[in-house]
Protein backbone atom coordinates (compact mmCIF):
# COMPACT_ATOMS: atom_id res chain seq x y z
CA UNK A 1 0.00 0.00 0.00
CA UNK A 2 2.74 2.43 0.90
CA UNK A 3 4.43 1.96 -2.45
CA UNK A 4 1.19 2.61 -4.23
CA UNK A 5 0.88 5.88 -2.42
CA UNK A 6 4.40 6.91 -3.25
CA UNK A 7 3.77 6.19 -6.91
CA UNK A 8 0.59 8.14 -6.86
CA UNK A 9 2.24 11.13 -5.24
CA UNK A 10 4.58 11.34 -8.20
CA UNK A 11 1.86 11.29 -10.78
CA UNK A 12 2.11 14.09 -13.30
CA UNK A 13 -1.51 15.12 -13.19
CA UNK A 14 -0.97 16.11 -9.59
CA UNK A 15 -4.09 14.54 -8.21
CA UNK A 16 -3.67 13.27 -4.69
CA UNK A 17 -3.69 9.63 -3.84
CA UNK A 18 -6.84 9.91 -1.79
CA UNK A 19 -9.15 10.95 -4.62
CA UNK A 20 -7.87 8.81 -7.52
CA UNK A 21 -6.06 5.86 -6.03
CA UNK A 22 -8.18 2.75 -5.73
CA UNK A 23 -6.91 0.01 -3.46
CA UNK A 24 -4.91 -2.78 -4.96
CA UNK A 25 -7.78 -5.12 -4.15
CA UNK A 26 -9.91 -3.18 -6.59
CA UNK A 27 -7.23 -3.45 -9.28
CA UNK A 28 -6.87 -7.18 -8.83
CA UNK A 29 -10.63 -7.58 -8.75
CA UNK A 30 -11.08 -5.62 -11.99
CA UNK A 31 -8.54 -7.73 -13.82
CA UNK A 32 -9.92 -10.92 -12.35
CA UNK A 33 -13.44 -10.10 -13.45
CA UNK A 34 -12.24 -9.05 -16.89
CA UNK A 35 -10.27 -12.27 -17.20
CA UNK A 36 -13.19 -14.32 -16.02
CA UNK A 37 -15.62 -12.75 -18.47
CA UNK A 38 -13.11 -13.08 -21.26
CA UNK A 39 -12.56 -16.73 -20.36
CA UNK A 40 -16.28 -17.40 -20.44
CA UNK A 41 -16.55 -15.73 -23.84
CA UNK A 42 -13.65 -17.73 -25.23
CA UNK A 43 -14.96 -21.04 -23.92
CA UNK A 44 -18.32 -20.14 -25.39
CA UNK A 45 -17.00 -19.49 -28.88
CA UNK A 46 -14.76 -22.55 -28.65
CA UNK A 47 -17.71 -24.78 -27.80
CA UNK A 48 -19.85 -23.27 -30.53
CA UNK A 49 -17.28 -23.64 -33.30
CA UNK A 50 -15.54 -26.83 -32.19
CA UNK A 51 -17.87 -29.13 -34.07
CA UNK A 52 -17.57 -27.30 -37.37
CA UNK A 53 -13.80 -26.98 -37.05
CA UNK A 54 -13.31 -30.70 -36.31
CA UNK A 55 -15.64 -31.59 -39.15
CA UNK A 56 -13.72 -29.28 -41.50
CA UNK A 57 -10.42 -30.87 -40.58
CA UNK A 58 -11.75 -34.41 -40.91
CA UNK A 59 -13.30 -33.56 -44.25
CA UNK A 60 -10.07 -32.08 -45.53
CA UNK A 61 -8.17 -35.19 -44.53
CA UNK A 62 -10.77 -37.50 -46.03
CA UNK A 63 -10.79 -35.57 -49.28
CA UNK A 64 -6.99 -35.74 -49.45
CA UNK A 65 -6.97 -39.50 -48.76
CA UNK A 66 -9.67 -40.15 -51.34
CA UNK A 67 -7.72 -38.09 -53.85
CA UNK A 68 -4.42 -39.94 -53.49
CA UNK A 69 -6.04 -43.40 -53.38
CA UNK A 70 -8.44 -43.72 -56.31
CA UNK A 71 -11.39 -45.98 -55.59
CA UNK A 72 -11.31 -45.56 -51.83
CA UNK A 73 -14.60 -44.91 -50.07
CA UNK A 74 -13.76 -45.57 -46.43
CA UNK A 75 -10.69 -44.90 -44.40
CA UNK A 76 -9.25 -45.45 -40.97
CA UNK A 77 -6.26 -44.31 -39.01
CA UNK A 78 -3.43 -46.84 -38.59
CA UNK A 79 -0.59 -46.63 -36.13
CA UNK A 80 2.50 -48.71 -35.67
CA UNK A 81 2.62 -50.13 -32.18
CA UNK A 82 4.54 -53.06 -30.71
CA UNK A 83 5.92 -54.04 -34.12
CA UNK A 84 2.49 -54.24 -35.63
CA UNK A 85 0.32 -51.99 -37.68
CA UNK A 86 -2.97 -51.64 -35.88
CA UNK A 87 -6.14 -49.75 -36.56
CA UNK A 88 -7.20 -47.09 -34.12
CA UNK A 89 -9.78 -44.39 -33.82
CA UNK A 90 -8.36 -42.64 -30.83
CA UNK A 91 -7.46 -38.99 -31.12
CA UNK A 92 -4.04 -39.32 -29.50
CA UNK A 93 -1.21 -37.67 -31.41
CA UNK A 94 1.90 -39.27 -29.91
CA UNK A 95 2.15 -41.93 -32.59
CA UNK A 96 2.74 -41.05 -36.23
CA UNK A 97 -0.40 -42.23 -38.01
CA UNK A 98 -0.93 -43.33 -41.58
CA UNK A 99 -4.29 -44.03 -43.15
CA UNK A 100 -5.70 -47.17 -44.63
CA UNK A 101 -8.11 -46.86 -47.52
CA UNK A 102 -10.90 -49.41 -48.16
CA UNK A 103 -13.58 -49.72 -50.79
CA UNK A 104 -17.27 -49.73 -49.92
CA UNK A 105 -17.20 -53.46 -49.09
CA UNK A 106 -14.32 -53.00 -46.64
CA UNK A 107 -11.71 -54.47 -48.98
CA UNK A 108 -8.28 -52.98 -48.35
CA UNK A 109 -7.03 -50.84 -51.24
CA UNK A 110 -3.91 -48.97 -50.11
CA UNK A 111 -2.17 -46.74 -47.65
CA UNK A 112 -2.20 -42.97 -47.53
CA UNK A 113 1.05 -41.88 -45.93
CA UNK A 114 1.72 -38.32 -44.77
CA UNK A 115 5.26 -37.00 -45.04
CA UNK A 116 7.05 -33.73 -44.57
CA UNK A 117 10.42 -32.19 -45.22
CA UNK A 118 12.20 -28.98 -46.12
CA UNK A 119 11.25 -27.34 -49.41
CA UNK A 120 12.74 -24.27 -51.07
CA UNK A 121 11.06 -21.86 -48.67
CA UNK A 122 9.52 -23.76 -45.80
CA UNK A 123 8.43 -27.22 -44.75
CA UNK A 124 6.33 -29.02 -47.34
CA UNK A 125 3.65 -31.39 -46.06
CA UNK A 126 2.34 -34.01 -48.44
CA UNK A 127 0.13 -37.07 -48.43
CA UNK A 128 0.69 -39.87 -50.91
CA UNK A 129 -1.13 -43.05 -51.74
CA UNK A 130 0.82 -46.29 -51.77
CA UNK A 131 -0.29 -49.71 -52.90
CA UNK A 132 1.64 -52.48 -51.19
CA UNK A 133 0.74 -55.25 -53.67
CA UNK A 134 2.21 -53.49 -56.72
CA UNK A 135 4.77 -51.52 -54.68
CA UNK A 136 3.74 -48.35 -56.45
CA UNK A 137 2.71 -44.84 -55.54
CA UNK A 138 -0.69 -44.03 -56.99
CA UNK A 139 -1.23 -40.41 -56.05
CA UNK A 140 0.28 -37.42 -54.29
CA UNK A 141 -1.28 -34.34 -52.76
CA UNK A 142 0.54 -31.35 -51.28
CA UNK A 143 -1.21 -30.43 -48.03
CA UNK A 144 0.83 -27.43 -47.02
CA UNK A 145 3.68 -25.50 -48.63
CA UNK A 146 5.00 -22.00 -49.06
CA UNK A 147 6.94 -22.54 -52.29
CA UNK A 148 7.55 -19.57 -54.59
CA UNK A 149 4.35 -18.62 -56.41
CA UNK A 150 4.68 -19.22 -60.13
CA UNK A 151 7.66 -21.55 -59.80
CA UNK A 152 7.77 -23.87 -56.80
CA UNK A 153 4.02 -23.93 -56.38
CA UNK A 154 3.85 -25.97 -59.57
CA UNK A 155 4.42 -28.99 -57.32
CA UNK A 156 0.66 -28.87 -56.80
CA UNK A 157 -0.57 -26.51 -59.52
CA UNK A 158 1.06 -28.24 -62.47
CA UNK A 159 -1.15 -31.19 -63.35
CA UNK A 160 1.56 -32.86 -65.44
CA UNK A 161 3.91 -32.87 -62.44
CA UNK A 162 1.28 -34.32 -60.12
CA UNK A 163 0.52 -36.92 -62.79
CA UNK A 164 4.08 -38.20 -62.33
CA UNK A 165 2.92 -39.76 -59.09
CA UNK A 166 -0.03 -41.76 -60.37
CA UNK A 167 1.93 -44.87 -61.31
CA UNK A 168 5.36 -44.60 -59.80
CA UNK A 169 7.54 -47.46 -58.71
CA UNK A 170 9.35 -46.94 -55.41
CA UNK A 171 12.17 -49.36 -56.13
CA UNK A 172 15.00 -48.88 -55.53
CA UNK A 173 14.07 -45.25 -54.90
CA UNK A 174 12.42 -42.39 -56.74
CA UNK A 175 14.65 -40.19 -58.86
CA UNK A 176 13.85 -36.76 -60.32
CA UNK A 177 15.21 -36.27 -63.84
CA UNK A 178 15.14 -33.30 -66.19
CA UNK A 179 11.82 -32.71 -67.87
CA UNK A 180 11.24 -35.03 -70.81
CA UNK A 181 14.00 -37.47 -69.87
CA UNK A 182 11.83 -39.79 -67.81
CA UNK A 183 12.60 -43.34 -68.91
CA UNK A 184 12.27 -45.75 -65.97
CA UNK A 185 9.19 -46.48 -63.82
CA UNK A 186 10.89 -45.01 -60.76
CA UNK A 187 11.66 -41.65 -62.39
CA UNK A 188 9.68 -38.43 -62.43
CA UNK A 189 9.99 -35.34 -64.63
CA UNK A 190 11.22 -32.41 -62.55
CA UNK A 191 9.64 -29.01 -63.11
CA UNK A 192 11.76 -26.71 -65.27
CA UNK A 193 12.88 -23.82 -63.10
CA UNK A 194 11.78 -25.48 -59.87
CA UNK A 195 14.24 -28.32 -59.63
CA UNK A 196 14.71 -27.79 -55.90
CA UNK A 197 11.01 -28.02 -55.07
CA UNK A 198 10.63 -31.11 -57.30
CA UNK A 199 13.57 -32.81 -55.65
CA UNK A 200 12.23 -31.86 -52.23
CA UNK A 201 9.04 -33.83 -52.93
CA UNK A 202 11.05 -36.82 -54.10
CA UNK A 203 13.24 -36.65 -51.03
CA UNK A 204 10.25 -36.44 -48.69
CA UNK A 205 8.69 -39.53 -50.28
CA UNK A 206 11.96 -41.48 -50.25
CA UNK A 207 12.62 -40.64 -46.60
CA UNK A 208 9.08 -41.44 -45.54
CA UNK A 209 9.21 -44.71 -47.48
CA UNK A 210 12.32 -45.68 -45.58
CA UNK A 211 10.46 -45.27 -42.31
CA UNK A 212 7.24 -46.98 -43.32
CA UNK A 213 7.63 -49.51 -46.09
CA UNK A 214 9.51 -52.08 -44.03
CA UNK A 215 6.90 -51.75 -41.27
CA UNK A 216 3.91 -52.46 -43.48
CA UNK A 217 2.47 -55.97 -43.20
CA UNK A 218 2.54 -58.44 -46.09
CA UNK A 219 -0.10 -57.73 -48.72
CA UNK A 220 -3.33 -59.45 -47.70
CA UNK A 221 -2.64 -59.11 -43.99
CA UNK A 222 -3.60 -55.47 -43.61
CA UNK A 223 -5.63 -54.47 -40.58
CA UNK A 224 -9.35 -55.07 -40.95
CA UNK A 225 -11.69 -52.12 -41.25
CA UNK A 226 -13.03 -51.40 -37.77
CA UNK A 227 -16.77 -51.20 -37.64
CA UNK A 228 -16.54 -48.23 -35.32
CA UNK A 229 -14.68 -46.29 -37.95
CA UNK A 230 -17.56 -46.60 -40.33
CA UNK A 231 -19.77 -44.86 -37.85
CA UNK A 232 -17.25 -42.17 -37.21
CA UNK A 233 -16.77 -41.71 -40.94
CA UNK A 234 -20.48 -41.17 -41.20
CA UNK A 235 -20.18 -38.95 -38.17
CA UNK A 236 -17.58 -36.68 -39.73
CA UNK A 237 -19.50 -36.76 -42.96
CA UNK A 238 -22.23 -34.79 -41.25
CA UNK A 239 -20.19 -31.62 -41.59
CA UNK A 240 -20.28 -31.79 -45.36
Amino acid sequence: MTRDKADAANRPDGRTAAESEPGSLRLVATLAIAGLLSGVAIIGIFEVTLETITANRARELREAVFKVLPGVELMQKLIYKENKLIATNEQEQDELPIYGGYDSEGQFIGYAIPGEGPGFQDTIKILYGYKADTRKIVGMEVLDSRETPGLGDKIYKDASFVANFTNLSVEPEIIAVKKGKKSAPNEIDAITGATISSKAIVKIINNTNQIWLSNLPEPGQEPELLVVEEESAADTGRGE
Binding site: T30, S38, N56, P149
Partner: protein
Protein backbone atom coordinates in the same frame (compact mmCIF):
# COMPACT_ATOMS: atom_id res chain seq x y z
CA UNK B 1 -28.91 17.74 -32.10
CA UNK B 2 -27.52 18.84 -35.44
CA UNK B 3 -24.20 19.59 -33.84
CA UNK B 4 -24.18 16.08 -32.41
CA UNK B 5 -24.82 14.63 -35.82
CA UNK B 6 -22.01 16.71 -37.22
CA UNK B 7 -19.56 15.55 -34.62
CA UNK B 8 -20.52 11.90 -35.12
CA UNK B 9 -20.00 12.33 -38.82
CA UNK B 10 -16.72 14.11 -38.27
CA UNK B 11 -15.36 11.34 -36.04
CA UNK B 12 -16.32 8.78 -38.65
CA UNK B 13 -14.91 10.56 -41.67
CA UNK B 14 -11.54 11.54 -40.23
CA UNK B 15 -10.37 7.94 -40.19
CA UNK B 16 -11.12 7.45 -43.86
CA UNK B 17 -8.74 10.03 -45.24
CA UNK B 18 -7.36 12.84 -43.09
CA UNK B 19 -6.19 10.59 -40.24
CA UNK B 20 -6.10 7.36 -42.19
CA UNK B 21 -4.42 4.86 -39.86
CA UNK B 22 -2.22 3.40 -42.57
CA UNK B 23 -1.46 6.18 -45.02
CA UNK B 24 -1.18 9.02 -42.52
CA UNK B 25 -0.46 7.53 -39.11
CA UNK B 26 1.48 4.56 -40.57
CA UNK B 27 0.09 2.19 -37.94
CA UNK B 28 -0.67 -1.51 -38.20
CA UNK B 29 2.10 -2.19 -40.69
CA UNK B 30 2.47 -5.87 -39.78
CA UNK B 31 -0.86 -7.11 -41.19
CA UNK B 32 -0.64 -4.42 -43.86
CA UNK B 33 2.46 -5.98 -45.36
CA UNK B 34 1.91 -9.60 -44.49
CA UNK B 35 -1.58 -10.51 -45.61
CA UNK B 36 -2.31 -8.17 -48.51
CA UNK B 37 -1.17 -10.55 -51.23
CA UNK B 38 -4.72 -10.98 -52.47
CA UNK B 39 -7.88 -8.93 -52.29
CA UNK B 40 -9.86 -11.56 -50.41
CA UNK B 41 -7.17 -11.98 -47.74
CA UNK B 42 -6.89 -8.24 -47.32
CA UNK B 43 -10.62 -7.81 -47.08
CA UNK B 44 -11.03 -10.64 -44.57
CA UNK B 45 -8.26 -9.18 -42.44
CA UNK B 46 -9.90 -5.75 -42.73
CA UNK B 47 -13.26 -7.15 -41.62
CA UNK B 48 -11.71 -9.04 -38.71
CA UNK B 49 -9.95 -5.87 -37.58
CA UNK B 50 -13.17 -3.91 -38.02
CA UNK B 51 -15.03 -6.32 -35.76
CA UNK B 52 -12.31 -6.28 -33.11
CA UNK B 53 -11.85 -2.50 -33.13
CA UNK B 54 -15.55 -1.59 -33.06
CA UNK B 55 -16.30 -4.24 -30.44
CA UNK B 56 -13.49 -3.26 -28.12
CA UNK B 57 -14.08 0.48 -28.55
CA UNK B 58 -17.71 -0.05 -27.60
CA UNK B 59 -16.83 -2.10 -24.52
CA UNK B 60 -13.97 0.11 -23.39
CA UNK B 61 -16.02 3.24 -23.77
CA UNK B 62 -19.01 1.84 -21.87
CA UNK B 63 -16.87 0.38 -19.09
CA UNK B 64 -14.49 3.31 -18.77
CA UNK B 65 -15.65 4.40 -15.32
CA UNK B 66 -15.25 0.88 -13.94
CA UNK B 67 -11.67 0.44 -15.11
CA UNK B 68 -9.07 1.95 -12.77
CA UNK B 69 -6.37 3.91 -14.55
CA UNK B 70 -3.59 1.71 -13.24
CA UNK B 71 -4.83 -1.44 -14.94
CA UNK B 72 -6.40 0.14 -18.01
CA UNK B 73 -3.87 -1.19 -20.52
CA UNK B 74 -4.17 -4.73 -19.21
CA UNK B 75 -7.94 -4.48 -19.25
CA UNK B 76 -7.94 -3.13 -22.82
CA UNK B 77 -5.72 -6.00 -23.90
CA UNK B 78 -8.00 -8.56 -22.26
CA UNK B 79 -10.99 -7.06 -24.06
CA UNK B 80 -9.18 -6.91 -27.40
CA UNK B 81 -7.80 -10.44 -27.02
CA UNK B 82 -11.27 -11.78 -26.32
CA UNK B 83 -12.64 -10.28 -29.51
CA UNK B 84 -9.65 -11.56 -31.46
CA UNK B 85 -10.16 -15.10 -30.17
CA UNK B 86 -13.82 -14.94 -31.08
CA UNK B 87 -13.07 -13.84 -34.65
CA UNK B 88 -10.24 -16.37 -34.90
CA UNK B 89 -12.48 -19.32 -34.11
CA UNK B 90 -15.31 -17.95 -36.22
CA UNK B 91 -13.07 -17.68 -39.27
CA UNK B 92 -11.59 -21.11 -38.60
CA UNK B 93 -15.09 -22.56 -38.63
CA UNK B 94 -16.57 -20.58 -41.49
CA UNK B 95 -13.66 -19.89 -43.86
CA UNK B 96 -10.97 -22.50 -43.16
CA UNK B 97 -9.14 -21.82 -46.44
CA UNK B 98 -8.78 -18.08 -45.84
CA UNK B 99 -7.90 -18.74 -42.21
CA UNK B 100 -5.07 -20.99 -43.32
CA UNK B 101 -3.69 -18.26 -45.57
CA UNK B 102 -3.94 -15.58 -42.92
CA UNK B 103 -2.29 -17.96 -40.48
CA UNK B 104 -0.74 -16.37 -37.43
CA UNK B 105 -1.85 -12.89 -38.43
CA UNK B 106 -5.36 -13.22 -37.06
CA UNK B 107 -4.14 -13.82 -33.47
CA UNK B 108 -1.65 -11.02 -34.07
CA UNK B 109 -4.48 -8.49 -34.42
CA UNK B 110 -4.04 -8.21 -30.63
CA UNK B 111 -0.69 -6.61 -31.28
CA UNK B 112 -2.01 -4.16 -33.88
CA UNK B 113 -0.98 -0.84 -32.38
CA UNK B 114 -3.85 0.93 -34.09
CA UNK B 115 -6.41 -0.93 -31.95
CA UNK B 116 -4.81 -0.33 -28.57
CA UNK B 117 -4.04 3.21 -29.69
CA UNK B 118 -7.70 4.00 -30.35
CA UNK B 119 -8.73 2.63 -26.94
CA UNK B 120 -6.12 4.69 -25.12
CA UNK B 121 -6.46 7.85 -27.18
CA UNK B 122 -10.16 7.94 -27.88
CA UNK B 123 -12.52 5.28 -26.59
CA UNK B 124 -11.47 5.59 -22.96
CA UNK B 125 -12.21 9.31 -22.87
CA UNK B 126 -15.31 9.72 -25.04
CA UNK B 127 -18.93 8.72 -25.06
CA UNK B 128 -19.96 5.34 -26.37
CA UNK B 129 -21.51 6.86 -29.47
CA UNK B 130 -18.44 8.85 -30.43
CA UNK B 131 -16.14 5.93 -29.64
CA UNK B 132 -18.08 3.63 -31.95
CA UNK B 133 -18.17 6.24 -34.72
CA UNK B 134 -14.42 6.76 -34.36
CA UNK B 135 -13.73 3.03 -34.33
CA UNK B 136 -15.87 2.51 -37.42
CA UNK B 137 -14.10 5.32 -39.24
CA UNK B 138 -10.63 4.14 -38.34
CA UNK B 139 -11.42 0.49 -39.10
CA UNK B 140 -12.93 1.45 -42.45
CA UNK B 141 -9.87 3.52 -43.24
CA UNK B 142 -7.71 0.53 -42.36
CA UNK B 143 -9.88 -1.75 -44.46
CA UNK B 144 -9.74 0.60 -47.45
CA UNK B 145 -5.94 0.72 -47.19
CA UNK B 146 -5.64 -3.05 -46.90
CA UNK B 147 -8.00 -3.57 -49.79
CA UNK B 148 -6.20 -1.07 -52.03
CA UNK B 149 -2.90 -2.78 -51.41
CA UNK B 150 -4.38 -6.25 -51.74
CA UNK B 151 -6.15 -5.39 -54.99
CA UNK B 152 -3.05 -3.83 -56.58
CA UNK B 153 -0.90 -6.76 -55.54
CA UNK B 154 -3.38 -9.36 -56.72
CA UNK B 155 -3.97 -7.64 -60.06
CA UNK B 156 -0.26 -7.36 -60.82
CA UNK B 157 0.86 -10.52 -59.08
CA UNK B 158 -1.83 -12.85 -60.30
CA UNK B 159 -3.66 -11.01 -63.05
CA UNK B 160 -6.86 -11.45 -61.11
CA UNK B 161 -9.19 -9.76 -58.65
CA UNK B 162 -10.99 -11.91 -56.07
CA UNK B 163 -9.67 -14.89 -57.99
CA UNK B 164 -11.34 -13.82 -61.25
CA UNK B 165 -8.80 -13.72 -64.08
CA UNK B 166 -8.73 -10.29 -65.71
CA UNK B 167 -6.20 -10.65 -68.51
CA UNK B 168 -6.54 -14.13 -69.93
CA UNK B 169 -4.12 -17.03 -69.88
CA UNK B 170 -1.05 -15.34 -71.30
CA UNK B 171 -0.76 -12.83 -68.48
CA UNK B 172 2.74 -12.79 -67.04
CA UNK B 173 2.38 -12.51 -63.26
CA UNK B 174 4.65 -10.13 -61.38
CA UNK B 175 5.76 -12.72 -58.85
CA UNK B 176 7.42 -10.14 -56.60
CA UNK B 177 4.02 -8.59 -55.97
CA UNK B 178 2.69 -11.59 -54.05
CA UNK B 179 5.94 -11.96 -52.14
CA UNK B 180 6.76 -9.77 -49.12
CA UNK B 181 8.97 -7.31 -51.07
CA UNK B 182 5.98 -6.49 -53.25
CA UNK B 183 4.11 -5.37 -50.15
CA UNK B 184 6.90 -2.99 -49.20
CA UNK B 185 7.23 -1.64 -52.75
CA UNK B 186 3.50 -1.08 -53.22
CA UNK B 187 3.00 0.47 -49.80
CA UNK B 188 6.01 2.72 -50.36
CA UNK B 189 4.66 3.89 -53.70
CA UNK B 190 1.19 4.52 -52.27
CA UNK B 191 2.69 6.53 -49.38
CA UNK B 192 4.74 8.45 -51.93
CA UNK B 193 1.63 9.38 -53.91
CA UNK B 194 -0.25 10.22 -50.71
CA UNK B 195 2.46 12.58 -49.48
CA UNK B 196 2.89 14.10 -52.92
CA UNK B 197 -0.82 14.79 -53.08
CA UNK B 198 -0.88 16.28 -49.57
CA UNK B 199 2.06 18.55 -50.31
CA UNK B 200 0.54 19.62 -53.62
CA UNK B 201 -2.76 20.44 -51.94
CA UNK B 202 -0.96 22.47 -49.29
CA UNK B 203 0.96 24.41 -51.92
CA UNK B 204 -2.21 25.03 -53.87
CA UNK B 205 -4.07 26.30 -50.80
CA UNK B 206 -1.17 28.59 -49.91
CA UNK B 207 -1.14 29.97 -53.42
CA UNK B 208 -4.85 30.64 -53.29
CA UNK B 209 -4.49 32.32 -49.91
CA UNK B 210 -1.63 34.47 -51.18
CA UNK B 211 -3.60 35.47 -54.26
CA UNK B 212 -6.56 36.42 -52.10
CA UNK B 213 -4.42 38.53 -49.83
CA UNK B 214 -2.80 40.41 -52.69
CA UNK B 215 -6.16 40.80 -54.39
CA UNK B 216 -7.68 42.27 -51.24
Amino acid sequence: MAKDQNQNYEEFVKGLWRDNPVFVQVLGMCPMLAVTNSAINALTMGLATFFVLVGSSFLVSSLKQFIPKQVRISSFIIIIATFVTVIDYTLLALMPKVHKELGAFIPLIVANCMILGRQEAFASRNTVKLAVMDAMGMASGFMIALFTLGAIREILGDGALFGVKLFGDNFEPWIIMILPPGGFLTLGLILLCFNWFTVRKQQFLEKVAAAERSGA
